[in-house]
């Protein structure tokens, strides 16, 4: 996953506005508060609730 560290710092969960964590195994950004993972497609984070998936376990 080639997401820029600076980009990650500025992104927030569209639902709770909290910070996101990279989840390399999922090719996604995860919100630990909402337990939602947002996909990264072609290196572009998709921060839409419509395309987010819930996860049960801790972010990878």
């Amino acid at each position: 996953m080639s997401i820029d560290r600076r980009l990650l710092d500025l992104l927030a969960c569209p639902q709770c506005k909290g910070s996101l964590q990279p989840c390399a195994q999922r090719q996604a950004l995860c919100c630990p508060r909402c337990h939602l993972q947002y996909p990264i497609r072609d290196d572009i984070p998709v921060l839409l609730l419509d395309e987010a998936k819930p996860y049960e376990d801790k972010p990878a």
Partner: protein, 259 residues
């Protein structure tokens, strides 16, 4: 925590509509050129530490312009295809301070007060909920920051307004509304903004390329021509309608500051 809604069908229409024509917008003179881009450059010039958000970036013309003068630009759109075009073009131009991210204006995925500037150019007429977007723009902008809104606008005259929205929705099923300047002023005030500068000008359009960019089906093109053919002279005069159906749109620029 905000109550976040999933994308409406209208927003899916936007995504679909702009996915097929992404590169056309990169090369469209109506989008790639314009004194407003030079004005944007001047507005944010010599601000190397500035972070600017470009909402509904489309093919990225405002983002490319701004990334040459500010520290960092975040280009946001609902269309993944558009964002890929923007990312590729940014790479070709060596603009390493331009990032792309897919989200909607009504629920922005950024921390409060992160940006020093927020701009949107030729996008807001597609937004499902402009008041919600203006509140989000206000939230992510630093209290000393500045917002610039550039969009097609409707004349204040109801007859002219109706004809404009009619041809817009026929051409583009994802069209929502070209707002009047008075509507922008009211929506901005309600969302906690004060307008510090505003301007309007005419944007002449080539009908054939205006239609082909949107891949409008033939029956809709015929309907637009029929609407224009039945238009009273004051409508034809206002939009500078030509025999080949070329015409001019009104465009507005609004600079807004947080109250």
């Amino acid at each position: 925590m905000e109550d976040l809604k999933p994308m409406s069908n209208q927003q899916k229409l936007v995504e679909k509509q702009f996915g097929v024509a992404a590169t056309d917008y990169l090369h469209s003179p109506a989008h790639a050129q314009g004194a407003d881009l030079q004005r944007l450059r001047r507005e944010f010039a010599e601000q190397p530490a500035m972070r600017v958000l470009d909402l509904g970036c489309g093919a990225g013309h405002a983002s490319f312009t701004l990334s040459e003068v500010v520290g960092e630009v975040l280009a946001v759109d609902l269309s993944g295809e558009m964002l890929r075009v923007v990312a590729d073009e940014a790479q070709q131009r060596g603009l390493s301070n331009l990032h792309t991210e897919k989200s909607m204006a009504e629920s922005l995925p950024f921390a409060d007060a992160y940006f020093d500037g927020v701009v949107t150019r030729f996008s807001a007429h597609h937004w499902a909920d402009v008041p919600a977007a203006l509140r989000e723009m206000r939230r992510v902008l630093h209290p000393q920051g500045k917002c610039v809104i550039i969009d097609v606008c409707a004349p204040e005259n109801p007859l002219l307004d109706t004809f404009l929205q009619a041809v817009e929705i026929l051409r583009d099923p994802s069209h929502v509304r070209d707002y009047r300047v008075s509507e922008w002023q009211a929506m901005l005030a309600a969302a906690g903004w004060q307008v510090s500068d505003q301007d309007t000008w005419k944007l002449p359009l080539d009908f054939a390329s205006w239609i082909s960019r949107m891949r409008s089906p033939e029956e809709r093109v015929t309907a637009i021509k029929s609407v224009w053919a039945g238009a009273p002279t004051e409508v034809c005069d206002h939009f500078a309608l030509q025999p080949n159906h070329d015409f001019s749109l009104d465009v507005c620029w609004m600079t807004a500051l947080p109250l």
